[in-house]
Each structure stands twice: as C-alpha cells, then as structure tokens.
Amino acid sequence: MASQLSRVWSGLCRARINSAHLRRAVSQSRTSSAAGAASVTDLQPAAHADDSHGHAEVNPFDKNPDYHGFSDDPFIDEWNMRLAFFFSISMAIVIGGTFIHYLPDHGMRQWARREAERLVVLREAQGLPLIDENYYDPSKIVLPSSSDE
C-alpha cells in the first residue's frame, strides 16, 4: 500500500513538473503561431527527454479544464463541440433517423401484409378456405388444344 502510494505521489510530482515546463511551451507556440508561422514546438512534441524519457506531453486539461478534445483554443474547442453535436446527433441521427423511419412503403410490402391479414380474417369469418384451389378461374384460361402440336 505504502509503495503504491509513493508511486502515485512520484507520478503526480512528475506530472506537475511536466505541466510547468509545458505551459511555457504552449504559450510560446501560441504567440509565434499568431504571427502566422509554424514554430518548432508545433512541429515536434515538446521534448523532455531528460525527465520523462521522451514521453512528455502537453496536458490540455491544465490550460483548459473543460477541454473537449477539439482544439487548444477554449473558444474554438467549445464551439466545435457544440456544432459537432448539433449536426451529428440533432441533425444526422435524429432528423436522418426520422426521415428513414417515415420513408414511403417500398414496393407496397407493408400494405400487402396488412391486406393479407385483413383478407385472412375475412375469409375465416366466412368459413372459406384461405386461398382457393383454383386461384384463377379455370374457365377463363385459354389453353391451346393438344391436337395443335
């Protein structure tokens, strides 16, 4: 337990050291990118090889606790989140789903099913067979006489 706690503590310390370093790195890159040029910190993840074996990262939650994963700029981050949710969930899923649900009955299959059920009830009530053995009236079918061949 004690060893676990000490490990967590050392991890936390390392994280705080990293974030202190990196906060500077972030603000530097922001000023330089405002001038329109990509800075070195943009190109390469900030290298803190000595204290983190090259795996140091900017923790965006340090700068913006409400980080949504879209952008480093909190304003853009929030609006990107809102717009993405609106257009994906509210528009594509909800409106698109409603559209697909209310599509016209393709090939009149639902109608055919309803009509069949109605006819089954009707014919059972009348005591008729569900389907007549001679579905087509045989007297109306004109067959070639066998002597023709």
């Binding site: 949504h68 994963g69 989140m81 257009f87 649900h101 599509l103």
Partner: protein, 460 residues
C-alpha cells in the same frame, strides 16, 4: 448523385480557404451535412433496378447502403484524427483532410459508377490517398513496408482484372451495368475462360481480403493512422465485396463449379484468422485479423450466389464496417494515451476509464454478433445460406462464430479487465470528442436493426 458529389468536391475549397483555426470545425460540419443529405438516396424513386441521374452515375439498392456508409465515415474520420494531427503545421493538417475528402470523392464515384471500367478506375484511384495516408502519417518506419505490401498486393490482383474487363468489353460490346445484367449468359468452357473467370474475381478477393492473400491487411491496419484504419476496415474492404457482387452476375454458368476452392478457402480463413486473433499481442493487429475473419464469411455469402447470401453479405458488410471502425477508434484512444499497441501493457483500463469500458464492451459485443444487432442478422443469413448449400459448412461457420466470441471476449478481458500495470500513471481523461465518436459509430448500428430492409440489397 451530383447533389452529394458536388458538395463533396466543394470540401476542398472549404479545407484550403477556411481560417486555420476553424478548419476542423468547418470540414466536420460540411461532411456531416453531406452525410445527412446522402440519406435521401435511400428514398427509392424507382420500384426496381437503378435510379440514375445520367448514363454514368446511378444508385441501386446494392450500392446505396455503401454510399451512405461512405458519406457517414468522413466526419467520423475527421473527428477521430483531430487530436493527433492538430500538433502538425496547418498546411499539413489541410493536406491530411484533403486526402480524406479525396478518398470520399473517389469512393462515391466508385460505388456510383454504372460503367465497370469507371468503377475499376475509381477502385484503383482510392489506392493513392490511402497509400499516402499510410506511408506519410503512419507511426513507425515499418509503415513503408506496409505501404509496399498494400500497393503491390492490390495492384497484382487488379491488373488481371483490367485485362479481363477489356476482354469482356470486346465480347459484349458494353461494360455498362445497366445493360450487361440483361445480356445472355456466356458459353464459357475453355481453359482461357476459366482464367478469365479468375481474373475477374482475384482483384476483389485480394481486396476483401480472402484468406491466403490477406497478408497486406494486418500490416496496413497496424501501421496506418486511425483514419486510415477506419476507412480501410469500413469502406475499402467492402469495395472488394461490392465488386464481387457486381461481377458474379456475369460469370454465371462457370461460377457453379469454380467457386468451390474459393468458398473452402474463405470459410477455412474464418477459422484460421479467428484462431490467429486468439494469440495476438497487438491490439490493432487483433482487430485487423478479426476483419479478415468477418470478411471471409462475407466472401462465402457472396460466392454462394443465392438471394440470402447476397443480402447477408451486404448486411454484414455494413454492420462490420461500423463496428470494426469503432474498435479501431477505441484502440487509437488507448494508443494516444499509452503510446503502445501491446495489449499486455495497457490492462485494467476499466478502473480508470469506466465509461470507455462500456464502449469497449458494447463494441466487442457487436463484433461477436450480439442478438439484436445487424451483425447477427448478417452472420445468420449467410450461415443459413451456406448451410442450405451444404450442411457440412455449419462445422466451419459454427466454429467460426465460437472463435469470434472467444477472441472478442479475449480482447475485452485483455484491455479492460485485470490488474492495472504499474507504469500506467497520469493518463489523460477521455475527451468529449471521443465519446461522441463512439456514439456516432454505435448508435447507427443499433438504429439499423429497426429498419434492416434498407440494407437488404437487391431484395429491398
């Protein structure tokens, strides 16, 4: 057709002209609107056959679900890449989104083509952006060899296809799918005809991929960045299945005997790649092999050439596209935090990311075909079609589903359960974006089963 294609092409000005801060936002929104409008394809104006706006582009019930899936995937790819690409310079970010958008353009033209040669050209054109995405934005040096595998496997398969198509054009006088489906079955008997038959299918079998010519796929998947893996699993493999369904119509009298070895290989591949999954240590490799296994079943369903086989294959392609893409996204979220794909180095994540463990759980259940989901519908329909052909296939397909369940649970247990490794400290919390991404994958899967007939293909 053009109402989708032109907005898709207009993505390029959006990407290059919008202010650098808003590039990701504007492209996400535009692609989402395109995805919404693309749903109008499902509203069928004609009762049978094709709905075509002109001679060269058209949709039919077979291509519509795949087209909608293509349009749905672009916003998801953009959302998924946003975090790891945004550290790069803005021009390179724009380049990256341009490649994704060009991929969508090519894919829409491939699925919308009514002329087989145009389909072929677009089928080949999708190689270029995918290759650049893999070899430029992959994570390790091995990506170059993965790109070589990807390129040369596909090209070696598709050059015979070009020859076979030109030969077909010479014999029938047309390669329009609108016409060729009504042409007389050809009398095919000679050895040359048999080689022609193989030439027509090999390209698609490699792309599927069939067990035996699948080696490019795990490499490409493992080395590609997340958007590359997503589009490979979701659309590019399905391009193979789609092409096979189109070609099978013309190969008819010969196919009955010729497909035996291919079906045997496909079903054997379901078993073998499933077993390979069970001994994977690499997260993305496992998901890639699981794709091969599922696509083996799809290949079996298509080659059996019954209405149920085709329907099941299409349903499984759509469902698998969404679910395996979801799994690749989840694998990427883990990768972005732990910088490792090795499963044993990132165990017990359930403790720290409980909500993400729910996403893992749902995606894995969908992958192993949990009852209400379309994955089950597709698998069952294919298995029934195969069983109807030969009861013995049930041994292979049944064992295949069992192994699928086994490796899906293995994946879940390895990544989410167990002790948390001691080196895992200080992981970033999950982003809202990643949860949104998972919802956008899994909600459509759940919604699709409420109206599965829109992906029944020709029997809609």
């Amino acid at each position: 057709m053009l109402k989708i294609l032109i907005p898709t092409i207009m993505l390029f000005p959006t990407i290059w002209l919008s202010p650098s801060k808003w590039v990701w936002t504007t492209t996400t929104l535009q692609s989402l609107i395109i995805a919404l409008v693309s749903l109008s394809w499902i509203n069928w104006s004609s009762e049978t056959g094709w709905a075509s706006s002109n001679l060269y582009m058209g949709t039919d019930p077979l291509s519509t679900p795949l087209l909608v899936l293509t349009c749905w995937l672009l916003p998801l790819m953009i959302l998924a890449s946003q975090n790891h690409i945004k550290a790069e310079p803005i021009a390179r970010q724009r380049n990256y989104i341009t490649l994704l958008a060009s991929l969508q353009t090519f894919l829409i033209m491939a699925f919308g083509a009514t002329e087989i040669i145009m389909f072929y050209i677009m089928f080949e054109a999708t190689l270029i952006p995918t290759l650049i995405i893999i070899t430029r934005w992959g994570n390790q040096a091995v990506r170059l060899s993965a790109g070589t595998y990807f390129l040369f496997y596909t090209l070696a398969g598709s050059l015979p296809l070009l020859v076979a198509l030109l030969l077909l054009h010479q014999n029938t006088g047309s390669l329009s799918m609108l016409i060729i489906q009504y042409s007389q079955p050809m009398a095919l008997s000679s050895w040359g005809d048999k080689i022609w038959w193989a030439g027509c299918l090999i390209a698609f079998l490699v792309k599927m991929p069939l067990y035996g010519v699948h080696l490019w796929l795990p490499k490409a998947h493992v080395e590609a960045p997340v958007a590359g893996s997503m589009v490979l699993a979701t659309i590019l493999l399905k391009l193979g299945g789609y092409g096979m369904m189109r070609m099978m119509l013309m190969l008819d009298p010969l196919s009955k005997d010729m497909v035996y070895p291919v079906i045997a290989l496909a079903l054997w591949g379901v078993l073998m790649t499933g077993s390979i999954c069970l001994r994977q240590t690499d997260l993305k490799s496992l998901i890639a092999y699981s794709s091969v296994s599922h696509m083996g079943l799809v290949a079996g369903g298509i080659l059996i050439q019954t209405p149920w086989g085709f329907t099941g294959a299409l349903v499984l392609m759509i469902a698998h596209g969404l679910v395996s893409s979801a799994l690749f996204c989840l694998a990427n979220t883990t990768y972005e935090r732990t910088h490792s794909r090795t499963m044993i180095l990132a165990r017990g994540m359930q403790i720290i990311f409980p909500l993400t463990a729910v996403w893992w759980f749902l995606s894995n259940l969908a992958n192993l075909a949990l009852p209400p989901l379309p994955n089950l519908m597709g698998e069952l329909v294919i298995i029934t079609a195969l069983f109807n052909w030969s009861p013995w296939t049930l041994i292979l397909t049944g064992a295949g589903t069992l192994i699928t369940a086994a490796y899906s649970l293995y994946l879940f247990l390895m990544s989410q359960r167990g002790p948390l490794p001691q080196h895992i400290i200080n992981l970033q919390p999950f982003h809202t974006r990643e949860h949104l991404l998972m919802i956008l994958h899994l909600l459509p899967v759940a919604l699709l089963i409420t109206k599965p007939e829109i992906m029944w293909g020709w029997w809609y």
